[in-house]
Every structure is written in structure tokens, then in C-alpha cells.
Symmetry: C2
Subunit: 329 residues, 2 copies
């Protein structure tokens, strides 16, 4: 039996800090999640309140387990991974929060902070069904749209670590305004917020609008979840909105496959889970419309780790960082 200290190092903590929920897991070296815990947070809690929630959750999670050797935290926002600082997390309304330092002091562990979809891409690349592929494109279609690009065996970072902003690829020149300064972005059509905005417009303008509003429980501003549920229940306008969403996603993905020539495109996120037709549409479009060599080389799949991808990826990064610190090679 190995000494306690070495066993301690075998688990690391992965935390996914979203706008409404903290999801934490203890992850073993093979990427398996041996225990999980989640709790709701609210952006009005502020950085200190959210950090306190993370701490108490970690305490509950690690009870009865070995103390983890490091922690990785995935945050929905722009992150400076080198310093652990959250530069901007619009859904939490955070700017310039030194999250890594705060958590490292409180947890007395090395802490690595990363953007959530980049962490999820690391998770899929290191522990998902497509692990080890040298050319991987992960796209998460949820509240926003984001992703990560593995090309020639490296997760692309770009000049200042901002590569992978797939949600802000222009798919309709001069199109709908986005949450960013651009127009016509992938995210401005396919994200949860964009589907909600398109549905609200359709309810106002389309003769079938009242039926959709009724199918969404009478809400004047239904959420994307309401819209996909209405579409699954057969509401015609909701089906039309989601079929358009499929097309925008497919067109964006065809372009990215042509530019990046990946072996796998992995799709995940809440919108995709709610409307899997996006996966089928993307698959058909890539096969039919990409450059033939790129089309032949790629498969479009559902991301295999689901909502745990960010937790597993953040844990992998924390483990890699801890290994680098203890044994620089």
C-alpha cells in the first residue's frame, strides 16, 4: 500500500463555476469522477460569496475522501490562466477577480483557473472518447457558444490566449447584433440567449406567435429551453425556429471544418442536448458541403463527457500543473 502522502496526490479537484451553479468533482488519474457535488450560486453573492460557496462545497465533497493534491476551476468567462485571474465573466458580473489566489489561500492547494469551454476541450481531448486525436474541434452551444481547437496535437492558444472564440465567428455578414461588438456571430443565432431573442421576435411578428407563447406556458419571453420543449411538442413556429438554428450551426461548422481540417468535431452544451437535430444537421452538411478531403477526414460526434467535461478538464489541467511544479521536465 502506498504511503498516505502519495495517495493524497492521486485525486484532484475539478470545479465548474457557472452563472447559477457550482459543480465540483474529485477526479482520479484516469479521468474518472469518483465523487460530485453541486450547489446553486447567485451572481449577487459576489466573488467572496461564490468563493465561500466553493469552499464549503469542497469541504463537503472531500469528506470521507483523500485530500486532493490540486484544484482546477473552470469559469464561464475570460480568464488569465497564467495568473488565475478572471478578467471578465459577464454572467457572474465579475471583472478582474483574483479567483486563483483567493481559492489557493483558502484551500491551501495549487489552483489552476481556466475558461470553461477550454477546460471542457481539455477534458474531451485527454479523457473523452476522442482522446489523443491530434485535430479536434469542440463546440459548446449553450447559454453562449464557445469552444476549443486542437490542431496538430496542440490546443491552440493564440497571441494572448484568446483563440477558440468560435461563438464569435461571423456566419451572417451584417446579420443580427451579438452580445459582442460584432454582428451576425454564430452565437447571435444559435446560443440560448439568441434562440430566446429570436423566439420573442417571432411571437411578436408571426401569426403563429400566440400559439408558440401558449406552448411556452404563456411567457412573453420564453427561454431557449421553453422553445425546444415547444418544438419537441410539435409547435410549428418553434420547429421552424429550431430548424433555422440547425442551419446556422451547420453553416458555421462547415466553414470551420474547411478552415481547420479536424478529425473530429465534438458538439455539446445545453442547446444541443435540448435539440439533438443540430448534430444530425451538422453531420449531413459537413458530409455534403465541405471540401472533399476535409469531409472525408472528419466525423461529427456528440461530446462524450457531457456536463462533467469542464470539471474533468480543469482537474486534468490542475494535475498537469502540479506535476510540472514538482517534476519539471
Amino acid at each position: 500500500m502506498p504511503p498516505p502522502r502519495a495517495r493524497t496526490r492521486s485525486l484532484v479537484l475539478g470545479v465548474d463555476l457557472g452563472a447559477t451553479k457550482v459543480l465540483a468533482g474529485l477526479v482520479d488519474p484516469s479521468g474518472r469522477v469518483v465523487a460530485t457535488s453541486d450547489r446553486r450560486v447567485h451572481r449577487n453573492d459576489g466573488p467572496k460569496g461564490v468563493a465561500a460557496a466553493v469552499l464549503s462545497e469542497v469541504a463537503a465533497l472531500t469528506e470521507g475522501h483523500e485530500r486532493p493534491g490540486a484544484a482546477g476551476v473552470a469559469v464561464a468567462g475570460q480568464v488569465d490562466a497564467a495568473t488565475g485571474r478572471v478578467l471578465y465573466a459577464p454572467n457572474l458580473r465579475w471583472r478582474m477577480v483574483p479567483l486563483g489566489r483567493v481559492l489557493a489561500e483558502a484551500l491551501r492547494l495549487p489552483v489552476r483557473v481556466e475558461n470553461d469551454v477550454r477546460a471542457a476541450t481539455w477534458g474531451e481531448w485527454k479523457h473523452g472518447r476522442s482522446r489523443g486525436r491530434s485535430n479536434l474541434l469542440c463546440i459548446y452551444i449553450g447559454t453562449g457558444v464557445g469552444g476549443g481547437i486542437v490542431s496538430d496535437g496542440r490546443l491552440l492558444s493564440g497571441a494572448v490566449g484568446a483563440a477558440g472564440e468560435i461563438g464569435h465567428l461571423t456566419v451572417v455578414a451584417g446579420g443580427r447584433p451579438c452580445s459582442c461588438p460584432n454582428r451576425g456571430c454564430f452565437e447571435a443565432y444559435a446560443s440560448g440567449w439568441a434562440i430566446a431573442a429570436r423566439a420573442a421576435e417571432a411571437i411578436r411578428r408571426d401569426p403563429r406567435g400566440p400559439a408558440l407563447a401558449a406552448a411556452c406556458g404563456g411567457r412573453p419571453r420564453p427561454t431557449a429551453t421553453d422553445v425546444t420543449a415547444a418544438a419537441r411538442a410539435g409547435d410549428r413556429l418553434a420547429v421552424e425556429l429550431m430548424t433555422e438554428t440547425e442551419r446556422y450551426c451547420a453553416d458555421g461548422i462547415v466553414g470551420l471544418v474547411n478552415v481547420l481540417n479536424p478529425e473530429r468535431v465534438l458538439l455539446g452544451g445545453g442547446v444541443l442536448e435540448g435539440w439533438p437535430g443540430i448534430l444530425r444537421a451538422a453531420r449531413e452538411a459537413v458530409a455534403a458541403r465541405c471540401q472533399p478531403p476535409a469531409a472525408r477526414a472528419v466525423r461529427v460526434e456528440r461530446a462524450s463527457l457531457g456536463p462533467m467535461a469542464s470539471v474533468i478538464g480543469a482537474a486534468w489541467l490542475a494535475r498537469a500543473g502540479a506535476r510540472r511544479r514538482t517534476a519539471p521536465t
Copy 2:
């Protein structure tokens, strides 16, 4: 003075084989072109005729110079760089032409074959004004639109060497048909052939069409060169067409900067040379509409090597290949 054999190795040959012209240069180790020569070719000449033209041109070019140590050939088409085979060159109407082998036997030199815009990207990266940058996006807007991506210090290759097909990024979901199976591609709006097609449509449909046709020398199907000349001369419809072209280019480039986070975007190609407003529009759009960290990190510039970029890049690749063969490291 070094022995003749060593001096022989100091020059390599770079050849850019386009649809209508062969451009060749002798390139020294610093990337300087010490002699050039060009001649017209016609696709009806076929692979043997074109190879013969290359050979006689090389003979003329190298007369009075040292014998080059290797040759690099850039071809407008899909190329298997590993075998030197041209898989598909639509403008030359070539399929599966073993160009590398044919030229290597005839020239008695090691020959490296590469796609023309990838070669041009190598040229800019290794010998252009932005040489050595780790994150570079080169976009050539000419008869077609193509490019190359340098990310984190590597020219991206992708799963089967097809990365960089920037011309086939979707910029208008469900938009104009392209030369490829997709619709709404960057190339379907901004390339020379697309500008010509959009102008022909405008001439048929717009009340100002006859004036544009007259400004284009009365041709019913003016070329992109005719259209940009007419726009420079003040034709209103031509100016409108080129202003739209600027917008499509800018929208595509904004999306690519968001996805790839380069330090430099280098723009080149015949359409850009004919209508430099594209450069200004791209610069303004990137500054105003990209994700702020990506916008701050990037500069949009004109490619610095002009039409010699492919020649210089092909020569660089040939030199690197020859070095690898003689001194594997």
C-alpha cells in the same frame, strides 16, 4: 572562398505555377530573390507542356548563376506535399499529376511541391516583414481566396494537410453558391470570379448596369480587374460592388480573428492589390468589432512580399527539405 560545391547549395529555385503564368526565381539563404523570369502557360498545354515550359524557363534563369541546390514549386491547387503530387488544380484542369517526380527527374534536383497560398504563407512567415511571429493569418484574395494559419509557432496542417481553406469559410449562411459544394463562402463573395459574377448580375438587374458595362469596355461579362478599374474611375455601381466586397471581407476576417487570435493578419492577392479599400475596411472592422483582447493583440497589414511570396516560400520549403535530407536533426 568556399568550395564550388558549397556555393552551389546557396541558391535554391522557387517556382510559382499559376493558371496562366510560370514565375520563377533564384532565392538566396536570406530570402532575397537574385534573379527572376516568367512566361505564359496555357492550361491546354497539359502537364507535359507546362513541365517543359518550367524546364526551359529554369534553364534560362540559371544561366550565368550557380546551379541551385533544390527546387520548390507552388501550385494553385490541392497538393500532396509528401509525394509531390498535384491532386486537383482546377484552373490548370489537372488531376493526379506527379509533378514533383517529373520535375525532379528533368531538373536532377530535389523538388518540393506545395499549394501556392500555403507556400506564400511560409514565405511571409520566414522572410516577410512579420517573419518569426508565432500567430499569423495570411489571406490571399485573388482569382480564388486562400490562406495559411500560423498558430503558436506552427503552420497548421490539419488532419490531411487541408487546413487553411479560408476561402471556404461560410460568411453568409445560405448565401451565394460557391465553386465548392458549400454556399455563402468568403470566396463566393470576395474572389475575382465572384466579383465578376456579382458584376454580371448587377449589370443585368440594376438600372446603372449599362453604365457599368460601358465603363468596363462594353463587355457583357467584365472581369474583377475591369470592375475595380471602373470603381476607381468613379462608376457608382462598381463602387457599390467593391464596397460590399470590403464588407464581406471584413466580416470574414473579424470572425477569423476571434477564432484564431493572431498577432498579424496579412492580406494579399490581386483583388486586394486592385482595391486596397479592403485593407482599410478590415482594419477598421477588426478594431471596432473583434473581441477586445483579440482586437488589441492584432495588426492588419498588407502582405509584404507581393507576388514573390509563393516563389520565396516554395524556395524556403525546398531549402528546409534539402537541409533535412543532408543533415537530419
